[in-house]
């Protein structure tokens, strides 16, 4: 496996500062070798990069950018909790929620943007199980929310 942080850089991405713990919940909880990562929304430098429902208010292209931002934020949280992305043994599961109109059925295409980034970064270890579903609305008006389950080396 290539160094995942170098791979991210080579793809033109940089990890954000991990979000600070907010209120009563925390970005990552570890049990055994599993890291449960809280639902990430597409915040960048303190603001959502888009708001609203897909596709009436947010385009597919923007929704995919949101999914990538969620993945970057999740990776930043994993890096902080694990002490470096090279500690990731495998990505186990993604839970993907897309705020969407009632006739939108392309949640997988939105989620693919996050899934594909993880495979680019981690190779086969980045492949994961996934559930992608619609939601009428998400926190702060986020178009996408993604939670992550990651296994790290013991």
């Amino acid at each position: 496996m290539t160094n995942p942080e170098q791979m991210l850089e080579s793809l033109g991405y940089s990890l954000p500062e991990p979000a600070k713990p907010v209120a009563a919940y925390i970005p990552v909880r570890r049990t055994g070798n599993l890291l449960f990562v809280s639902g990430q929304i597409p915040m960048r430098e303190g603001a959502l990069i888009a708001k609203g429902r897909v596709p009436s208010e947010v385009s597919m292209e923007m929704a995919q950018k949101c999914a990538v931002q969620c993945a970057l934020n999740g990776l930043a949280a994993v890096k902080a909790a694990a002490g470096g992305l090279e500690r990731v043994a495998q990505v186990v599961r993604l839970g993907v929620f897309v705020a969407c109109d009632g006739d939108f059925t392309q949640q997988p295409q939105v989620a693919n943007a996050a899934s594909e980034l993880l495979v680019k970064v981690f190779g086969d270890a980045g492949r994961h199980a996934r559930a992608a579903v619609g939601a009428p609305s998400l926190p702060l008006g986020a178009p996408v929310e993604i939670e992550f389950l990651v296994e790290v080396r013991g």
Copy 2:
């Protein structure tokens, strides 16, 4: 425990071919003895057996058939990943999403169809924790999506 595949046959069900890996996510990711199974939609022979929201577009009876099909597809994925359903130690959790109208509150009745099949197939080992919720829409217009968490023997 009776042989679960014989039990399925005796109930008149046959397992589909497991779905091929699609794009960046995979049907099942194993960590330790846990199999995380991706969200399954009621595909049969390459097509959804129903599309739309419950109950305005899809009846309760059809939604329950969809839940059963999701369970069959999940079992096919488990069988392929575990090397046979007799390797299942217990079903741990189901996440059930029902595409529904805003006044529909019988998600548990839909989910029961999948839960009851698993208990018939695995006996007490098929009993599981579950969350069943509504969604405005699901991938490809599926009325039901179910993800599975299964423990296999070490």
Copy 3:
């Protein structure tokens, strides 16, 4: 860590009787040291304490009371499964669903009521990863549904 049940009492809460197993699913499934707790709705003494969507039919304040009731019901299930809340090593994850109007984006504020209770009861061990999302509707018309993942001592 203070005795969590005494802490609950000192906060003025008492645990309900754990819900009986219903149909094919069960309140808690254990795998290893992990307890997967089924989605809890705000039932108290056999009835929902509120019904409908937030905020048009259920106020934020009532939604937060619902989240607390979900947490109490979840703790009752954990207590029954683990043989006492003092067996809880840490709360790992909450999945929070809020039945809401399409323009409601304060799911985290609803979820905080449950998260904060868990931190009061367990201290730092009560801090958890969390995903909070909207749903068009939930079982029986519940405004909130919360599932729990808890680690117990081996």
